[in-house]
Amino acid sequence: MKRRFTVDRFIVQRMGISLIALAAILTVLPIIALFGYIIAKGAPAVSWQFLTAMPSNGMRAGGILPAIVGTFYLTLGTAIFSVPLGIAAAIYLAEYAKENWVTRLIRIAIINLAGIPSVVYGLFGLGLFVLFLKFGTSILSASLTLSIMTLPVIISAAEEALRAVPQSFRTVSISLGGTRWQTIRKIVLPQALPGIMTGVILGLERAAGETAPILFTGAAFFLPKLPGSPLDATMALPYHLFVISTQVPEMPLQIQYGTALVLIIFVLGMNLIATIIRFRARAKRQW
C-alpha cells in the first residue's frame, strides 16, 4: 500500500514537471516561428540599397531610408525628454520622498500611466502638443507623446535600480560627512547606472516600435525628402509598415516583410545593447 502511494506521487511529480516544461517551450515557439518567418520572407528584400534609398514608384520600389531615419529621430527625441525627467523623478522617489499619501499617489499615477492604451496617448498628444501648443504634426509632438508613454517604464526601472544599491553605502557616505546629494552623485547613481540604462533602453525600444502614439502627432504617409527640423513631420518604420501593408494597392510582399525585418532588428538591437550592459555590470559589481 505504502509503496504504491510513493510511486503515485513520483509519477504525479514527473507529469507536473513535464507540463510546466511544455508550457515554457510553448511560449518560446511562437517567437521563434515569427522570427523565422519574417527573416525568410524579408531577408531577400534587405540590401544596402533598400536601407539607404528613398522610396520610389509610390513606395512600391526603392528603399526605406526616410522611415529608418525618422524612427531614429523619434527615438532620440523621446530619449532627450524622457530620460532626464524619468531619472530625476526616480531619484526623488527612491532617495528623497517620504512614504506618505503624496508619494503613494505619484506611484499609483505612474502605474496607471503604464496601463493606458497607446492610441489614447496618441489622441492626447494630438490635443496637447499638435493643436493646443501648436507644435503641429511634427517630430517634436511625436517625441513628446512617446516620452509620456515611456516615462513610467523609465521611472519604475530607475527607481528599482536605485533601491537595489545597499543602504549601508549611503549610511557610510553620510557618516563620512557627505551630503545626501554627494552620496547620490558619487555612490548611488554610479552603482545604479547599469540598471537605469537597461530600463531606459527597454523603454525607448518600446517607443521606437509604437505606431498609435505617432499616428496623429508626427508620422507622415509619404515625404519626398528627409525631415530638416524637429517641427517637420517624419516617416517612421512602424507607421510605414502599417501604410504599405494596408493603404497601398499592389504592394510587393517582399518590401513589407523587409520593412518588418528592419524594424525588428532595430528594436532587438537595442535590446541586445541593454543585455550586454546588464551582463557586464553584473560581472564588475562589487557588492
Binding site: P166, S168, F169, T171, V172, S173, I174, S175, L176, G177, G178, T179, Q182, K186, I187, Q191, R285, Q286, W287
Partner: protein, 253 residues
C-alpha cells in the same frame, strides 16, 4: 579626572515606532581615552553612538531631549552643522562596509567630499591613516585594488583608516570586531590603544571580555538606562550596582 570631550546631559530618546531607546542619560566622556559602552543588546548603546554624530537624523526619531555637549557646544541644537560634526566625530560600523571603489579611493572619499583636491594632501592622508590603522604594510603595494578584495579584518581596519583620514577628534566604534576572527580582533584592539593618545574613542564592544580589555572608562547600559559608569578598572572589579556585577560576572546577557 581628565578633561571631558563630550558631556551628555539628561538625554532621552524615543523612536517613532514607540520604542524608547534612551532614558535620562547623563555621562561624561574624557578626552584621549577609550570609553566603553557595554551591556546586553537593546540597551541603547548604539542609539547613543548614533546621537553623537547625529546619524540618528536618518532614522525616524519621535522625541529627543537633553543635551550633548561636544567641547561645550550642544550638537543637538537644530542649528548645528551636521556635515562638519560628522567630520569631527567619525564612525566605524559593526559590519565592515567598504565602498565599491579602490582602497585608495575609499580613503580619500571623505576628504574629497570636503573639497580637498591637492594630490599631495590626499597622498599624505592615505599613508598616515593606513599606518594609524596598522594596515599600511599589508596594502601599500596594492592601493588601486578594489577594496572588496581585502579580507574581512583588513576591510574593517580600512574602515577605521577611512575615518582617520578625515582627521576626526572623536571616533565611534559600534561592535567593530563582531564579525572578525581573534587575530584580526587583536589587531583592531591594538590599533585602538595606539590611537587613544590623539583621539577620543567611544567603543561598543562585542563582549564583556573586550570591554574589560579595552576600557579606560566604562558605562553599563541596561534597557535604555545608564546603570553606572566609572573607570574601567573600577567597574570590572568592584561594581557598585548589583545589576552590573551580575552582568560582568556572566549571570545574564
Amino acid at each position: 579626572m581628565a578633561t571631558n570631550k563630550i558631556i551628555v546631559e539628561n538625554l532621552s530618546l524615543q523612536y517613532s515606532d514607540g520604542t524608547e531607546s534612551l532614558r535620562d542619560i547623563s555621562l561624561q566622556i574624557p578626552v584621549n581615552a577609550i570609553t566603553v559602552l557595554f551591556g546586553p543588546a537593546g540597551g541603547g548603546k548604539s542609539s547613543l553612538l548614533r546621537c553623537l554624530n547625529r546619524l540618528n537624523d536618518l532614522t525616524e526619531v519621535q522625541t529627543i531631549s537633553g543635551k550633548i555637549l561636544l567641547d561645550g557646544e550642544n550638537i543637538l541644537d537644530p542649528k548645528t552643522d551636521v556635515i562638519a560634526l560628522r567630520r569631527r566625530v567619525g564612525m566605524v560600523f559593526a559590519r565592515p562596509v567598504v565602498l565599491p571603489m579602490s582602497i585608495r579611493q575609499n580613503l580619500t572619499y571623505g576628504l574629497e567630499l570636503a573639497g580637498e583636491k591637492h594630490k599631495s594632501k590626499l597622498e599624505e592622508a592615505v599613508e598616515r591613516s593606513l599606518k594609524l590603522a596598522a594596515l599600511w604594510d599589508e596594502v601599500k603595494d596594492r592601493l588601486e585594488d578594489p577594496a572588496i578584495a581585502l579580507s574581512g579584518g583588513q576591510q574593517q581596519r580600512l574602515c577605521l583608516a577611512r575615518v582617520l583620514a578625515n582627521q576626526p577628534e572623536v571616533i565611534l566604534l559600534d561592535e567593530p570586531t563582531s564579525g572578525l576572527d581573534p587575530i584580526s580582533t587583536g589587531k583592531v584592539e591594538t590599533a585602538l590603544q595606539g590611537l587613544k593618545k590623539n583621539f577620543t574613542i567611544i567603543l561598543v564592544p562585542h563582549s564583556v571580555q573586550q570591554a574589560a580589555r579595552a576600557a579606560d572608562y566604562a558605562a553599563f547600559f541596561l534597557q535604555g538606562e545608564l546603570v553606572e559608569w566609572a573607570e574601567g578598572k573600577e567597574i570590572f572589579t568592584h561594581p557598585k550596582e548589583k545589576r552590573t556585577e551580575d552582568y560582568v560576572e556572566g549571570r545574564f546577557g
